[in-house]
């Protein structure tokens, strides 16, 4: 077993254990865990059977197999960060919609309970500290 194999194996095992722990503690949703798990398995496979990588590099006419690894890895990371940007954008849009609805609900609540007209102001400091 050469050192490259050991490194690859260690990295893959660490990723899998971390994923498992995060899932167990409800820190990660399955849909995000899946892609990382697949990537960890992929790098594990390549670490154990480097011949696969050499074969693929040969097939694609890539002279240095490790460059192929870097290329694929950076593409995958790009794809994943794009996906995360998309998810964040979606969340921001939802947060915005919720904030707007909250404002309108407070408006309605003030209208239906006129006695509370001043109450939201009194509650303001606590609201702000939560933000």
């Amino acid at each position: 077993m050469n050192s490259a194999t050991v490194l690859g194996l260690a990295a893959a095992v660490i990723v899998v254990i971390t994923l498992f722990e995060m899932l167990r503690r409800h820190r990660l949703r399955e849909k995000y865990a899946l892609i990382w798990f697949v990537l960890a398995m992929g790098s594990l496979t390549v670490a154990v059977f480097p011949a696969l990588l050499f074969g693929l590099a040969d097939l694609l006419n890539v002279q240095v197999p490790s460059n192929l690894v870097f290329f694929i890895a950076s593409l995958l990371l790009l794809a994943m960060s794009l996906q995360h940007s998309f998810e964040i954008g979606k969340l921001e849009e939802r947060t915005r919609t919720l904030a707007e609805e909250v404002a309108l609900l407070r408006l309605d609540a003030d209208a239906t309970a006129p006695g509370r007209m001043t109450a939201p102001n009194a509650a303001e400091p606590t609201d702000r500290s939560v933000e």
Binding site: K31, Y32, L34, I35, V38, I72, L75, L76, L78, A79, M80, L82, Q83, F86, G89, K90, E93, R94, R96, T97, A99, E100, V102, A103, L104, R106, L107, A111, M117, P120, N121, D127, R128, E131
Partner: protein, 249 residues
């Protein structure tokens, strides 16, 4: 009729603005949308006789306006007018805007429409506004001279569009919302108004900021033109169950 006033940290001017609107037009309802202000904007507006919708945090003009338009749609108002809280829009021009709604869905109160207008801008900012006006005019099929104006009136049809889609991005609140409106078939017109000078603060005076404004205007306009409308953010492009786009790589 509902007058929507988006306000963010405008405690000095929001009171006089609301009082002026109600003074000239006592029959309208005024809704101030407090865009997460840290000052007394909401209290001053309430004291001046407006209803106040308080956003829990700052969303930008787009968020404030969509809140206002949602309220207008739900409460069944026939006309919604938007007026800036900084007092640069004179509410006495309101009837002339609303009169235009007989033959258009949206009416913008614009400066630059008269040769003797005291409000002038130069340099990149002027090019940006010229470009925006040209493209929007073309889209709307009518001559529009200033599309970044925050003084506009809309009927129920346009109100429903804005209640759904009112972009939160920079310049989205003015330019992109108009593009969306034309895309879904709303008609736009304009009337000339005198714009008062801002009491405090100038709009992007330095050349760098003006150039930045031009750049952002082009980006905002370009995006607005190529985007698909109506958008459906909540469903997302891949939907909830969609896994990560493995095939991208």
């Amino acid at each position: 009729m509902l007058v929507i006033v988006p306000a963010w940290n405008e405690q000095e001017s929001v009171g006089p603005t609301v009082r002026e609107i109600l003074g000239v037009h006592p029959e309208v309802d005024v809704l101030v949308v407090d865009d997460g202000s840290g000052d007394a904007t909401a209290e001053r507006a309430e004291a001046a006789g407006a209803r106040v919708a308080r956003l829990p945090f700052n969303l930008g003009v787009g968020g404030a306006m969509r809140t206002g338009y949602r309220h207008a749609v739900r409460e069944g108002y026939d006309v919604a007018v938007q007026i800036d809280a900084d007092g640069q829009h004179d509410p006495r021009f309101l009837p002339s805007l609303i009169a235009e709604l007989d033959h258009a869905d949206i009416c913008i109160g614009v400066r630059f429409a008269k040769p003797d207008d005291p409000y002038t801008v130069r340099g990149p900012r002027r090019w940006a506004m010229y470009l925006l006006a040209k493209v929007l005019s073309r889209l709307a099929g009518t001559r529009l001279t200033d599309v970044t104006s925050g003084f506009r009136a809309c009927n129920r049809r346009a109100m429903k569009v804005f209640a759904e889609h009112y972009p939160a991005e920079y310049l989205g609140d003015t330019v992109e919302s108009l593009v969306i409106a034309t895309r879904v078939g709303c008609t736009i017109t304009q009337v000339p108004i005198d714009m008062r000078r801002r009491t405090a603060g100038t709009a992007s005076a330095s050349p760098v900021r003006a150039a930045l404004f031009l750049f952002r205007a082009v980006v905002a306009l370009g995006l607005a033109l190529v985007r698909k409308w109506p958008a459906n953010f909540d469903e997302g492009v891949v939907g909830e169950a969609g896994p990560l786009p493995l095939d991208v790589a």
